[in-house]
């Protein structure tokens, strides 16, 4: 079929280009611009080349060691979050009802935590986990377990992880539930006829069919947990010491606390690139596995 060619059609793209330029490209370029300069205010800038980046990536400098430490914290946090939320989300999705009024009830209940704003979640848990007046903190302490998230780094981590699991497991569960609902009944019927065990049904039918939504769930949860800011800021303020200071908290301190715009801009770019790189690698690996499985072997 012949499609008419008319280069004037490019003008139709202009509005989008303008919006994207003002909402994304120009702000991003401003950050890039800051990252290679130093400023002392008054709109005076001095060229610094790659200086900030060198300092940032050099663990022997003060800034470099802070970045390195908080990067490890971020990675550890994301790993723990994924290791808990993905299996838990799958388990919850498998246990959710498939039909009747209970479906609507469960979906609404599951969606609740997702509707609570980040800083509210932080405040809820900050109070909830307090040893003197918080239900959780008080109960745990009365059970004879020493628990104080203000003083003990481990307790602070457990609190933040519990909070994130509470807040975001439903997202994974809802995605998995959607994946499960898309499996035709014939698969379960065939499995019964084949005499498959409950585990085999999960392993060979449900898990492969959930694969695509799981990739999305992992990507979303990784990005979000890697960028976590509000909740730990509200609950622990990054402490005790620096034990829950994540990259984002470090970045805000640098940019707004110390007003080191150059360093902060350089750090934003590095931060952004790390997230992009991890997501890209993960996504490419997962989709390539898929392609290789689809491709027939040579000569076959």
């Amino acid at each position: 079929m012949d499609k008419p060619l008319d280069n004037r059609a490019w003008f139709l793209v202009l509005p989008v280009l303008a919006i994207v330029a003002f909402s994304a490209v120009i702000p991003l370029m401003t950050v890039v611009n800051y990252s290679v300069q130093d400023t002392f205010g008054n709109n005076q800038f001095f060229w610094n080349g790659t200086g900030w980046f060198k300092e940032l990536l050099d663990p022997s400098s003060d800034l470099g060691s802070r970045v390195r430490d908080s990067l490890w914290r971020n990675l550890l946090f994301s790993a723990i979050i994924l290791a808990i939320e993905v299996p838990l989300g799958i388990a919850v999705a498998l246990a959710m009802p498939r039909e009747g009024w209970k479906v609507a009830a469960t979906l609404v209940l599951m969606a609740m935590p997702l509707l609570v704003p980040w800083n509210v979640v932080g405040t809820i848990w900050q109070v909830f986990a307090r040893g003197d007046i918080g239900l959780l903190g008080y109960t745990v302490n009365r059970l004879g377990i020493d628990y104080n998230y203000v003083a003990d780094p481990l307790a602070a981590w457990i609190t933040i992880i519990a909070m994130d699991v509470w807040h975001w497991t439903s997202l994974v569960a809802l995605l998995c539930y959607a994946g499960l609902k898309s499996i035709p009944d014939a698969y379960y019927q065939a499995a019964r006829i084949d005499g498959a065990s409950r585990w085999a049904v999960f392993r060979f039918i449900q898990l492969p069919k959930m694969r695509r939504v799981l990739i999305i769930a992992v990507l979303l949860r990784f990005m979000d947990s890697f960028m976590i800011y509000t909740e730990p800021f509200v609950v622990t303020g990054g402490g005790p010491g620096n034990s829950t200071t994540f990259l984002s908290i470090e970045l805000v301190k640098l940019a707004l606390g110390q007003f080191d715009l150059g360093k902060a801009a350089a750090m934003s770019i590095v931060y952004n690139l790390i997230i992009l790189a991890v997501c890209w690698v993960f996504y490419t690996v997962m989709t390539n596995l898929d392609v290789e499985r689809r491709r027939p072997p040579a000569g076959g």
């Binding site: 019927q189 065939a190 019964r192 006829i193 085999a200 060979f204 076959g300």
Partner: protein, 359 residues
């Protein structure tokens, strides 16, 4: 190996319902003999898939018994019956290879590895899948996948019957024919009872020795293809089978005389028609011919379809649509013509059911 008997079987998807309108399957008694090739034919929603699922054990019937060789299995789970089922959409385990797919039902039943291997290779040969054994099942074409799901049934040595639920729906037309002949060949080779659900009369008539026609939850006729064609037991069978279907014309029948549209046709036999029922006569288009005006029944001609080797006339007899063959020697046809029905091929129906001739 099993003879399957359905005794007084009925099913409703609404619990506790007994009213006829709520029954997806009206009470029926049927026997499927060991080694037969059956087709369950009917339009969508007539209950054929429900019946199939009751036999395979995916649905527990509300009443009645399902006997396999005399043993009631109506309440046994699927895995405890020696039944295999092939579904409308090919069901394969995506992450497994073809070999693992075929071995799956055997491994689940705890068969020894050596025996599994022998069995899988044997079935793969039978289905022409030997070359594909090492491939992942997910990349295969729909017809290969459908062969795998058939293979998962055949591979079990104890399997007594294989049920097919419209298995060719997603297969390309030219492969349909191939797969259907494959099924026929397997049926001859393996002496298995096969029950094939379809709404496609060509599939049913070419596959089965016995075709069971269902309509609105009831079995309206079970018989050889030519019986269904020549002696439809119900007007529904008449117009569902055949292309186009049987002409059904309201009539008054008294003894051996049928009056339609003011004219009278003499029938070869006499009938005692029940009173108070809707009486119709049925005659297939193959036994109805168009004639010059003045001969036979007066009809108006709507159009003539040229089917290549023959011509088919679409007619109206006092508002009633009728299809009839057009003889070669009949030249140009005007708006009106005559219709001749062959009396030997006229059936009499009362409320849709065929009335047997007297004596």
């Amino acid at each position: 190996m099993a003879r399957i008997e359905l005794s007084d079987l009925a099913h409703s998807y609404k619990p506790g319902a007994t009213a006829a309108a709520d029954l997806a399957l009206k009470p029926m008694t049927l026997t499927w003999r060991q080694g037969g090739a059956y087709a369950l034919l009917g339009p969508s929603g007539c209950g054929k898939t429900t019946l199939l699922n009751i036999i395979s054990g995916l649905v527990v019937p509300s009443q009645g018994r399902v006997l396999f060789d005399g043993r009631d299995v109506a309440h046994l789970p699927t895995e405890a019956r020696n039944i295999a089922q092939v579904f409308q959409f090919p069901v394969v385990y995506d992450t497994m290879t073809v070999y693992e797919n075929l071995a799956f039902p055997l491994r689940n039943r705890g068969m020894a590895a050596g025996a599994v291997d022998g069995r899988v290779r044997e079935i793969a040969t039978l289905l022409d899948l030997t070359g594909e054994l090492k491939r992942k099942a997910r990349g295969l074409t729909p017809d290969a996948k459908q062969k795998i799901s058939l293979g998962r049934g055949l591979v079990r040595p104890d399997v007594a019957a294989i049920l097919f639920d419209e298995p060719l729906t997603v297969i390309d037309p030219q492969l349909k024919w191939e797969l259907r002949s494959k099924l026929k060949a397997l049926h001859r080779a393996l002496d298995l009872t096969m029950i094939y659900v379809t709404h496609d009369q060509t599939e049913a008539l070419t596959f089965a020795d016995t075709v069971v026609v269902m309509h609105d939850g009831r079995v309206v006729q079970a018989g050889r293809p030519e019986e269904l064609f020549e002696k439809p037991a119900h007007t529904f069978v008449g117009y569902f089978i055949g292309s186009p279907g049987m002409n059904v014309i309201p009539a008054a029948v008294e003894g051996n005389r049928a009056s339609i549209a003011g004219a009278t046709i003499e029938l070869p036999q006499s009938y005692d028609v029940p009173l108070g029922k809707r009486i119709e006569i049925g005659v297939r288009p193959e036994f109805a011919t168009l004639a010059r005006p003045g001969e036979g029944l007066p009809v108006t001609v709507e159009r003539i379809d040229d089917l290549g080797r023959s011509r088919l006339a679409r007619l109206r007899l006092q508002g009633q649509a009728i299809a009839a063959g057009v003889p070669h020697e009949l030249g140009d046809i005007g708006d009106t013509a005559g219709l001749i029905l062959q009396p030997a091929h006229i059936h009499v129906y009362a409320d849709g059911e065929r009335v047997e001739a007297r004596g």
